[in-house]
Amino acid sequence: MYTEDYVLATTTFYNEENGLALANFFSLRDNSSKDWSQKNTIDDLQKIAEDNELDFEVEIVAHLNVLKAVSEKKYDEAFKGQLAIFQNIVKYLQSSDSENWMVPLANTVCVDLRYLLNAFDTLDSSSKKQKLEKYNDFQKKYIDSMMMYFRICSGDTRAPARHSKRWTIMFIVNQMLKVYHKIKKFHLTTGLTKTILMCPDKNIFPVAHVVTFYYYTGCKEIFEGKFNDARENLIIAFERCYRKSIKNKKLILQKLIPLNMLQGIMPSLNLLKKYDLDVFMDLTTSLKTGNVKLFRECIDKHEVCYMKCGIYLVLQKLINIVYRNLFKKFFLIANNHIIPVETIAALLKKFDDPETSFDNAQSLLVNMIYRGTLRGYLSHAHKKVVLSKKDPFPTGRHVFDKTTRSINEIGHK
């Protein structure tokens, strides 16, 4: 709650170099900002700030204005005000060599700034075209200021580790990644992630930042089709994620589970229950049992959700594993090494498309043999598939990896 005393206390915070207390003062999130109008009007507070030669006079006045704009739902004004505060703080940071106590303040302000940007996007009521133009403009300004902040912090190499601002660059990058991911411009993030990954002193970053960073890097790599890199990064994020933040773990798992499935690693029912991942429930069952029809239905049913997660195409790649499991189940029941292709077609009619033709079934088998998922050969004269006596359905991570690869990525020498 803002009172005269609280406003005046900023001087003390400043003198004590108490970045956290100042950050708390400037935060738009957990302040009981609704109360200020009852006890003190904003004008009074501004007057107090102006009269008392406070260290952050301009920023405090601007901050109170932002609060006012937010309460009046004028998010564009709020954004502009907050941007000015942020730019000022970044300037202070630039001139303060060998000290980093102001970093928490800058971080709080820039996160709030991003929230205001989002709030503008979702809540502003102006016409669509106008809003889009404004939003793009705001976003550009935001990125520009963040880049400025980033340069100051990453260039702060001469200060002793205790006073260096370098520890926060991952945080800054994360904020920018969030903006770019929202608008799905992943190609713009490559340079940012690279600077972090090339960092020689990666252990200076707090775990919380590391988790976010690797999560977003993983998402980007899924979009680009680099599944193995994405999997590694998401595993780092998952393992270091705070034990009790179920929400974050769920987010990571939504991406990690399909990637693991690509390599033949299926999630247990307990895991899915624990993290409330119902969207994978039927999918896993159909994968394990080889029910192609059910698998396709699942994808259709949760289409929107999967697309939102960015895993739709990853799941589409799993179809070869479903076919494999179906054939394997059938082979175990038939208990015969020689199976007529017509029988396979009949099997597919039941568990996949009712209109499956002989040629369809044959081309599926050809594909499986080509990928090494199924060992054996087809005979055209007898219209039969002959399975290898020894281990016709090999398992292992590299087999599944090959099963789900794109056709142009399979190299046969």
């Binding site: 889009l132 979009f223 369809n360 055209h380 004269a381 794109s406 056709i407 142009n408």
Partner: protein, 326 residues
């Protein structure tokens, strides 16, 4: 900066007509002054392109497009590669004019589709030309530039319902132009949720090819519009290589012969003679109209033979490309 207001009401500005006449720079397809169309010229130091009297407003641009694709495309007594070069150059000038004067999104939506279809058609028509006469890479580059621009505009104002059909046609064209390409599929995803048949169909085809299941290629190919077949037709040679190679793995057994007529069907070739040619090219043994598919004999090092699948155009090509609204 305020965009320039175009004032040139002809297909070719007067200045350019006099200049090109005096220097004898007339193209062989421009015998009369009223047949002349503005050339594409790069921006260079000293020559300013944004003079109002050199730029054509959107309505004139549309007329120019329909002149090029209706009248010029029909000409039969000139080799197609010359017609292609002419139209390609003039279409680039149209795109340039539209860019300089910053035409509205609605205008772009009208200008781009015929251009995109023309490039798709040209990819098929020019496929068998020598690289020195026609560069397929450049053609597809122009195609992608236009399609991606169109899709970007579609994504920006998605509330327009009237353009849905056009948009799905363009997205599906982009998908079939890059069959099996994961990144292109990612770009097409936002359009699948509209439950459009064409997008969904091409999407599934591309996913199947990505996964190596070629079973429904022929079936879907036959169901697609001719313009889509054009861009698929030129990708078939590389797809045939994948198909044939995987078949060599699948049917790899001694004395296991495969009739050519079925192979022709699998590989989407025009006749058995071509199939024999393709098989021999990859080192496959041929005995009495039968092929011995063997993985050890398959030669992966050779380039794919450039054979396109012949397409029957049931409608007038110009009508198909311009896609006149009824």
């Amino acid at each position: 900066m305020v965009p320039v207001k175009a004032t040139c009401m002809q297909m070719c500005p007067k200045d350019e007509i006099t200049m090109r006449k005096s220097r004898k720079l007339l193209h062989q397809l421009e015998r009369d002054p009223y047949q002349m169309v503005k050339c594409f010229s790069r921006s260079a130091a000293g020559c300013s392109l944004n003079k109002p009297h050199l730029l054509r407003p959107p309505s004139v641009l549309m007329n120019t497009i329909s002149y090029l694709l209706n009248d010029v495309l029909k000409i039969v007594n000139v080799p197609f590669n010359i017609i292609y070069d002419f139209i390609d150059d003039r279409l680039s000038a149209i795109k340039q004019d539209a860019t300089i004067q910053e035409v509205s999104k609605q205008n772009w939506m009208n200008i781009l589709p015929p251009i995109i279809r023309f490039y798709a058609y040209a990819a098929y028509m020019c496929y068998e030309y020598n690289i020195n006469i026609y560069d397929p890479y450049l053609n597809m580059k122009h195609f992608h530039e236009c399609v991606l621009k169109f899709i970007k505009i579609c994504l920006e104002d998605s509330n327009e319902t009237t353009t849905d059909e056009l948009c799905s046609e363009m997205v599906s064209l982009l998908i079939v132009a890059n069959l099996g390409d994961y990144n292109v599929l990612q770009q097409g995803l936002p359009f699948i949720s509209k439950k459009n048949n064409l997008v969904k169909k091409t999407m599934l085809l591309s996913v199947n090819i990505m996964n190596g299941n070629f079973g429904d290629l022929l079936k879907v190919y036959n169901e697609l519009p001719a313009i889509h077949q054009c861009v698929i037709s030129v990708q078939l040679p590389i797809l045939r290589k994948y198909i044939l190679q995987s078949m060599c793995f699948g049917f790899n057994c001694k004395n296991n012969f495969f009739p050519i007529s079925i192979l022709t069907n699998c590989l989407l070739l025009n006749n058995d003679k071509e199939t024999t040619e393709v098989c021999k090219h990859y080192g496959i043994l041929m005995i009495d109209y039968k092929a011995e598919l063997s993985k050890s004999l398959f030669n992966i090092e050779v380039d794919e033979p450039r054979i396109r699948k012949k397409i029957q155009f049931n409608v007038n090509v110009s009508t198909m490309i311009l896609h006149k609204q009824k």
